[in-house]
């Protein structure tokens, strides 16, 4: 598998995992209007995942398909950021159950889409034409996702005492996971070396600025980060991905080879 193909899988896995998480709110949102908004975000992400997996499948050849990649790879094969696989609540072990918290959902979407507007913007200049095309389309969507999430971060941070507390708690919980955006990885380094892909580390200052602006308006505090840095993009995940994929893949795997 070429370096760029591996990188495509990283992007696709990010999109499918976060698309899966956001879709969990369908029918349970805090207002119908919000249900519809979040479904739009989820649809965009699934759409991105499809395009990326299709590209990867083409390059892998041998009859590979988007669904094979999404449904028949195992946890260690997945290259998504750990941030995206976390359930919509505070830190709990893999088999604990808890209510979904909209603050967690929004803060996570904010942190990720702030990154992706920068990543897609850079990638639309990639010499890899297919990747550039996907990037151009995804950029428009990511801008909307950022706008939606940032607006809510501000409403929560500068809303009621309860919403402020929830948003700060979500930030304290999730922000450390973003450290993974900036760590080196063999796949990214190879893709960068091939010339197809921008080094995401060059985007860090811009990301910090977006985050700082929104947190300031939201009167929220950026947490300190120390200690363990997640390794999802290396295939070493949290306890949560196994449950997420278990649910996502169960039906397809029960009928291998079936067409839907």
């Amino acid at each position: 598998m070429s370096a760029t193909t591996e990188y495509l899988l990283h992007l696709a896995d990010n999109a499918v995992v976060l698309g899966q998480r956001n879709a969990e709110w369908c029918g349970h949102g805090p207002a119908i209007e919000e249900d519809i908004a979040l479904a739009n975000v989820s649809l965009d992400l699934i759409g991105q995942a499809r395009l990326l997996y299709q590209q990867a499948a083409e390059r892998i050849g041998n009859g590979a398909t988007e669904d094979q990649l999404a449904y028949f790879r195992d946890v260690p094969d997945f290259r998504n950021y750990t941030l995206l696989e976390l359930p919509h609540h505070s830190a709990l072990v893999g088999y604990a159950k808890s209510n979904m918290d909209y603050g967690t959902t929004i803060v996570r979407n904010f942190l990720y889409s702030a990154l992706m507007v920068l990543v897609w913007d850079a990638l639309q200049k990639s010499p890899d034409a297919d990747l550039a095309a996907i990037a151009a389309k995804s950029l428009k969507e990511a801008r909307y996702h950022l706008h939606h999430a940032a607006d809510w971060v501000v409403k929560f941070g500068d809303g009621t005492e309860e919403s402020h507390a929830r948003a700060q708690a979500a930030l304290d919980h999730l922000f450390p996971y973003t450290e993974e955006f900036w760590t080196p990885s063999a796949i990214e380094d190879a893709a960068i070396a091939s010339g197809a892909v921008t080094d995401v580390r060059t985007l860090r200052a811009a990301w910090d600025a977006i985050v700082a602006d929104t947190l300031a308006e939201a009167t929220l505090k950026r947490p300190e980060v120390r200690g363990y840095v997640p390794e999802g993009k290396h295939g070493r995940h949290s306890e949560h991905l196994s449950y997420l994929l278990g649910e996502m893949q169960v039906l397809a795997r029960a009928h291998p080879g079936a067409t839907w």
Binding site: Q20, A31, A39, Y102, F156, S163
Partner: protein, 336 residues
């Protein structure tokens, strides 16, 4: 996606009586004349209290059905067996949320706020379509809901596009545009499964076995047993009778089932040359009424899920309000 094709009184047993005491005969006559001329009644027009009440109930029941209807299908989003089907299903469930919203919007033009309508739903006072009180037990249920439930909804909704109340008719036009899409997608998904593995075919047949009779009951009891049908017909709200809609649905669906290769679970289903329609078996109306009145397999689950979403979301709604107020104060301060 769906309303019951009958107006269930929120207080069963209480008959709907038109209140004429405070309404002038002249206004009533003009109102009747417009209805008879197939004209539209708009939010600012004079209307009999009973017309307003009937519409609020029917439109809000329809809206509640769309919102509750998100749940049986939403149950399969996370496990959709392909990314394409997952996307189609999310889009469909999202459309249903949107339809609920258009309908609450139409109902609000009659003077009832959305929070009042939601309170009535959550307290169990308001009804929603019976079909959503059944569980979705395998992936084929999603396709069958698209084929049969949306199919039935379309039968009911197309005539409503011509109903006398403007905002409701216009909401229905918008809904119908999106709905036919849903039915086609559901049917297409089933076609693929019926051309697939034995296990897939068995799934589809199982879903049809469980859902067929419930779909027939969706159209509501025979019109002789529907006290509000007559008034609805008089006022251009209800255009076609329950039995006629049900018959139309069966006649359209039997050939579709043949193409799919599924058996409809009714040994009495038979073409009647004389009538020019399909004869069909007896619907279990006892079971239907039990379900409508809250004692079906999933009523409690559906309702408490909606109540939970609403309650859990209160802090979010309040945060938005609080922020809006703060912004307002800031703007006032700045202007000063």
């Amino acid at each position: 996606m769906y309303t019951q094709s009958f107006s269930v009184s929120d207080e069963p047993g209480k008959q709907q009586k038109p209140v004429l005491s405070t309404e002038s005969a002249e206004q009533m006559a003009k109102f009747d004349a417009r209805i008879d001329a197939d004209g539209r009644i708009e939010p600012q027009d004079w209307m009999p209290e009973a017309y307003r009440k009937t519409l609020v109930r029917q439109i809000s029941q329809h809206a509640h059905s769309e919102i509750v209807g998100m749940l049986p299908e939403g149950n399969w989003i996370s496990r959709a067996p392909s990314l394409k089907r997952k996307a189609i299903l999310i889009a469909k469930v999202q459309d249903e949320g949107g339809h609920g919203l258009y309908l609450y919007s139409a109902a609000e033009t009659l003077g009832t706020g959305r929070d009042k309508m939601l309170d009535d739903l959550h307290s169990g006072k308001a009804k929603y379509s019976s079909i959503f009180n059944y569980p979705t037990l395998n992936w084929a249920d999603v396709g069958v809901i698209g084929w049969l439930v949306d199919g039935a909804a379309i039968m009911n909704q197309v005539p409503l596009c011509r109903c006398s109340y403007g905002p409701y008719a216009r909401a229905m036009v918008r809904v119908c545009k999106e709905e036919s899409f849903h039915q086609r997608q559901g049917y297409e998904g089933l076609l693929v499964m019926m051309q697939g593995t034995e296990a897939q075919k068995a799934m589809v047949q199982d879903a049809v076995n469980r859902l067929w009779w419930k779909c027939l009951a969706m159209f509501g009891p025979p019109d002789a047993d529907s006290p509000n049908s007559a008034l609805g017909m008089r006022w251009g709200i209800k255009r076609v009778s329950n039995d006629d809609l049900r018959q139309k649905f069966i006649d359209a669906t039997v050939p579709q089932a043949k193409v799919l290769g599924v058996t409809l679970p009714d040994p009495d289903l038979k073409w009647n040359e004389e009538r020019g329609h399909y004869d069909y078996g007896q619907i279990d109306w006892n079971e239907f009424w039990e379900t409508v009145n809250g004692n079906g397999p999933c009523n409690k689950e559906r309702l408490s899920t909606r109540v939970k979403a609403h309650n859990d979301g209160a802090w979010v709604r309040e945060a938005a309000n609080a922020h809006a107020r703060k912004q307002q104060q800031r703007q006032i301060k700045e202007a000063a």
